[in-house]
Amino acid sequence: MSSDHDSVHVSSLGFGFSILLALCGLTGLTVWTARMDLGIFDTPVALAIAFTKMTLVILFFMHAKWSSKAVKLTAASGLVFLLFLFGFTLADYTTRPHDDPWSRLSITPGQIHPSDVVDHGHHGDHGGGGDHGKGGHH
């Protein structure tokens, strides 16, 4: 029963550093793609990169790659239940007949910067609506 000595995997410094570089590179990729107008793919692309980063951290920094089957199963169980949560939620909210939620997610209202509005506080009422999203520079 004892596979004592190969059960603990020791990562080298160089390997850990290469994972760090990959994670930093993917962070740059997230920022780069976020600045592009990808329409409804903005969020799916950002999430795909985030999932890639999470996978790198779980496999190599959290040592899941070298863990026992019991640990792998436990680690996966949380993620599987999250899949249920998001699967059923999205099945509902992306298929409602009254509007087109996918296109709504990709809208880009005008920019509002804090510098435009920082002195407008304490007015009490929160505006007459209607003209929201048009207070920007462009």
Binding site: V31, D37, M54, F61, G78, P109, Q111, G133
Partner: protein, 228 residues
């Protein structure tokens, strides 16, 4: 350390009585911690689930709210956290090798990066208070930024922003307390090449905190980053 009294039935001083051998002990520690980590994934997953539902209901509010956040600070904190994850992974590496001096050094570095994160977070939160973007009237802070508040859903967005980044920051503060405790345990001689689950399991927790931020950064800070 282990006094040489009742312990003369030949097992390693760092092996608890109820385990067969050191490997079973280590495996049990890891499994227990992973059960807790699964709970943590579900806890933050619930917050992200609620975020998703309300983003479908208030897409403009999410977009305008995100434009108020400082993506530069958010991005800098992402990098800071990734470096802290790297030093934590190295702390685990040296714990496995039994080089406790290097373990302490890497934990101190991890605490340093964690502190840098909190300092940046402090400046970020301060700006939100100054700009009237704090939706906690009950606590005496107003969502007084009329132009932002006029967009439906922005108040809710900032509710999610403060709760999600706040829960994340709370995890980091708890993590720094745990790191202080771990350093003390190492100096007391309670961590060794044979029994380093304390360092290894804390590593799992710290990497998880990094994972949460990996999702918070694009989903909170970058929604309004598209250039036209």
């Amino acid at each position: 350390m282990a006094s040489a009294d009742a312990h003369d039935h030949g097992h390693h001083p760092h092996l608890a009585h109820h385990f067969e051998d050191l490997e079973q002990q280590r495996e049990s520690h890891a499994l227990g911690m992973w059960v807790f980590m699964a709970q943590e994934f579900l806890f933050f997953g619930g917050l992200f689930g609620a975020y998703t539902v309300y983003r479908f209901i208030y897409p403009e509010g999410w977009m305008v709210g995100s434009q108020q956040l400082d993506a530069l600070i958010g991005g800098a904190n992402t990098i800071v956290l990734l470096f802290s994850s790297f030093t934590m992974a190295m702390a685990v590496r040296y714990a496995q090798l039994g080089e406790n001096g290097k373990v302490i050094l890497n934990i101190l570095l991890t605490m340093g990066f964690g502190l840098a994160f909190m300092v940046l977070k402090y400046f970020e939160y301060s700006a939100k208070f100054a700009h009237g973007l704090v939706p906690f009237e009950g606590l005496g802070y107003g969502f007084t930024n009329a132009a932002v508040a006029a967009v439906p859903g922005t108040r809710l967005f900032f509710g999610f922003y403060f709760i999600m980044t706040g829960m994340h920051a709370l995890h980091m503060i708890i993590g720094k307390g745990l790191m202080t405790w771990i350093i003390i345990e190492i100096m007391r001689g309670n961590v060794s090449k044979e029994r380093h689950s304390l360092v290894e399991n804390f590593g799992l927790y710290w990497h998880f905190v990094d994972i949460v931020w990996i999702f918070l950064f694009p989903l909170l800070y970058l929604l309004g980053a598209t250039q036209h």
